[in-house]
């Protein structure tokens, strides 16, 4: 890339302080038209904050932003939108009460005279979304559709907005392989239209797949700007973590030794999950694989009692149990790390400390308050072992970066030391360092004899820790892979396999 071309967007010496944190420390970022630029860094490195400073969500404490050489200072998101900067922020940020089309065109609806031209809006929306491979009725409320669809809509909206710059903050976190490929083809098209694209993700192979160059942040500082064509994967990782990543040694998984812990028979709920059976031993990790919407989350929620099943028999340690709601499940020593951190996981305003002991406290009941000493001990312990990055334990958890929130939630459940732990997308939005840690952690928990059920979209991950993998398709249990069968290809094949063939087998 020849740098004498005038950059499309240039950020110079951006700093941002938060009470207790220096989120950004004099950060430079340079984007060129027709360049796809990756923004890399651990959880809490400051990626999202940088984006928010660039697009006027936060006021930056110092630094300048130049768009095509002209100094700009967007103080509101719609300023930056008018400047031609389209952004997808980290969490899906759309309005569930509006229709898909309304979300797509909010603020720039096609008008007829003084009035919004709904018909045109809907048809346009339908066409746009078709390019992203989803066929839905854009006149329906957004809330009717899944996280996946919502994510796609958000991306589509940003793309439509971006005349000059498109910023995507972890857009692929909740997308499937196909959907990612679709997205990439769109991005490439934009690249040809000489847009500058910023792409934030923790999936390095996606980075190397599509990005030209990358800026790496660590603890709010730029530690390097690299041309990906000439850089190796390991160098990037080292740059991000500031250390070598302990080579992903796949310790031979401990055999599922223990005796049967939980037996699930004929669990089902119409419209959510068809008959699901599972027998789980102590110290066993069972993976749940499947496409988006295949029903992994539903399975998890049904087992945990978050959603009441129509029927199904649960036998725990030999005796049958009824789970009418999460409380019953917790009482039995179950735990569930939900998929949607923001809405089902964190309690935003509460301190990290309170969030960590929440489940434990809930189980003890409100009368018996956990002693302060113990609270401190627990909190300190998990912050250390999971290496949660925070200013102090009293800060509201919503101020943690996405990945660190995820870790805190894990801590919440480990604190209750459960004997059956359900993880729904545990590594979603988590940086490679932490990713490795969590996988290692799963291994350790397993050794301690805990049984785990892990729903994940990442094959390698499943392969890494599962003793068994159950494959779901269209809310039905279609295949179970054991031991040596567990390879990415087999899983993918099972997922993709044509129902007829399945039936024949």
């Amino acid at each position: 890339m020849t740098d004498e071309r005038r950059p499309m967007l240039q950020a110079k010496g951006i700093s941002k302080f938060f009470p207790g944190t220096v989120a950004l420390d004099n950060v430079d970022l340079t984007l060129h038209g027709g360049e796809i630029h990756a923004l890399l860094g651990e959880n809490g490195a400051g990626k999202s904050t940088l984006i928010k400073c660039l697009t006027g969500v936060y006021r930056r404490d110092s630094g300048r932003v130049l768009l095509q050489g002209k100094e700009v200072d967007p103080t509101l998101t719609h300023h930056s939108q008018r400047l031609g900067i389209g952004t997808v922020y980290q969490e899906v940020n759309l309005l569930p009460n509006l229709t898909v089309a309304e979300n797509l065109y909010l603020g720039r609806q096609p008008m007829r005279g003084p009035f919004v031209d709904r018909r045109r809006m809907n048809t346009q929306a339908r066409d746009t979304l078709r390019d992203y491979g989803i066929q839905i009725d854009p006149a329906q409320p957004l809330s009717t559709y899944s996280v996946a669809v919502q994510q796609v809509v958000a991306i589509a909206r940003a793309v439509e907005m971006s005349g000059k710059v498109l910023i995507l903050d972890e857009p692929t976190a909740s997308l499937d392989h196909e959907e990612v490929q679709l997205l990439f083809s769109v991005i490439r098209r934009l690249k040809d239209r000489r847009l500058a694209v910023v792409f934030i993700t923790h999936f390095l192979d996606q980075v190397f797949d599509i990005c030209d160059s990358a800026t790496v942040l660590r603890n709010g500082q730029v530690v390097g700007r690299v041309d990906l064509a000439t850089t190796s994967r390991n160098d990037v990782i080292t740059l991000m973590l500031g250390r070598q990543l302990a080579a992903q040694v796949r310790a031979p998984k401990p055999k599922a030794g223990g005796n049967t812990l939980l037996q699930i028979e004929g669990l089902q709920k119409t419209g959510m999950l068809n008959r699901f059976d599972l027998s789980l031993n102590e110290g066993e990790v069972v993976g749940l694989a499947g496409l988006l919407g295949s029903g992994r989350t539903e399975t998890a929620n049904l087992i945990f009692g978050a959603v009441k099943a129509d029927q199904g028999k649960l036998t725990f340690r030999g005796k049958e149990i009824q789970l009418r709601n999460p409380r019953d499940a917790v009482a039995q020593g179950f735990a569930l790390c939900p998929e949607d951190r923001k809405t089902d996981g964190i309690v935003g305003e509460l301190s990290v400390r309170d969030n960590i002991i929440l489940a434990l406290q809930a189980r003890q009941g409100w009368m018996r308050k956990v002693r302060r000493k113990k609270i401190e001990a627990i909190a300190e312990h998990y912050v250390r072992t999971l290496d949660i990055r925070l200013a102090n334990l009293d800060m509201p958890i919503r101020l943690l970066s996405g990945g660190n929130q995820q870790k805190a939630l894990l801590a919440r459940w480990l604190a209750t030391d459960p004997n059956f732990l359900i993880l729904d997308e545990p590594t979603r939005g988590i940086d490679i360092g932490a990713h490795a840690e969590i996988i290692a952690l799963i291994g350790r928990l397993q050794q301690d004899g805990m049984a785990l059920l892990v729903a994940s979209s990442e094959m390698e991950e499943l392969v890494a820790y599962s003793n068994r993998v159950i494959v779901l398709r269209d809310r039905t249990q279609v295949k179970e892979l054991v031991g040596e069968e567990i390879t990415s290809d087999n899983i993918i094949r099972a997922i993709a396999a044509d129902p007829q063939v399945e039936a024949a087998v």
């Binding site: 302080f17 938060f18 009470p19 207790g20 944190t21 220096v22 969500v57 936060y58 404490d61 945990f304 978050a306 709601n325 999460p326 409380r327 499940a329 917790v330 009482a331 569930l336 939900p338 809405t343 089902d344 996981g345 964190i346 309690v347 935003g348 305003e349 509460l350 309170d354 929440l358 489940a359 406290q361 809930a362 189980r363 003890q364 009941g365 409100w366 009368m367 018996r368 308050k369 956990v370 200013a391 102090n392 009293d394 800060m395 509201p396 919503r398 919440r412």
Partner: protein, 344 residues
Amino acid sequence: MTRNAFLRRITPQLIILAIVLGLNVLVFPDFFDVEMKNGRLFGNLIDVLNRGAPTALLCLGMTLVIATKGIDLSVGAVMAIAGATAASLVVEGNHWLVAVLGALSVGALCGLWNGFLVAFLRIQPIVATLVLMVAGRGIAQLITEGTILTFLDPGLIHLGAGTVLGVPTPVLIWLTLGLFVAVFVRRTALGMLIEAIGINEASSRLAGINSRVLLVCVYVVSGIGAAIAGVIVAADIQGADANNAGLWLELDAILAVVIGGNSLLGGRFSIVASLLGAMIIQSVNSLILLSGMPPEFNLIIKALLIIAILVIQSPKVGHLLYILRASAPQPHPKQLPPLKENLR
């Protein structure tokens, strides 16, 4: 929370209270005089404490309700019902304790009803409690048949007009209850759990918190608090005035909670701060009375004072002050702004 965190939390309220009391002294120099007159403490300060009792008692429940993202418009009506119940019971010749118990259980019942609508039928709190707000006075009047039900039972009257060691009974009642509740919610995990459901009920539920029961509880507490307030008000005038008892008092209570720096969006709460809020409001009322202005100015004075107070308190202004004080933002948790920085 630690002592100085607690102090930091209630500082704004203390300052404002001081200011308003100061204004009182301005319009009425010997405002702080307190003397003994025939066996009871006598003075404006005592009046503020005494007249603030109903609002303070309403605050207790209201604070908890608001912490769960709710609101309880029915407390005024519940006061009327409770007063009417107590009065009619003593008039029928029951012992005053029976009457009080009766009133309290009626209050609890009202709270149960509200809680049921909110927690189980999932009706938005404002509407849910609006129902009882409208119907409640009717029920109260149904009990008194529209008349002011006068009674002479000394035991009951003592609760409103009596004194213990010269201190008006209502003052003792609200101070004890207030202290009790404030300590109780923090000594137990109740406070934290309530805050949790107020902030994110879905998560709390998944974490195994029994949100419904907690929700019902806070409304019951609110109902009981209102009932006590109702009994006190009735006892104070030796009669149950179903139509006027606690009229619009729910608004004062909500104001007090907000002046106490608690967010109407639920979450973190401080009972003590709310109680201070109640006292602030009562001081404003006393200021109006003492000022001797013609009554048509009452409302406008109250409005302006309250607006001033709220503006001073608003997180934004608080943050601005913080920025002005700390020239350069230092990354030390100790220097956190009293009112935490608002995300936009």
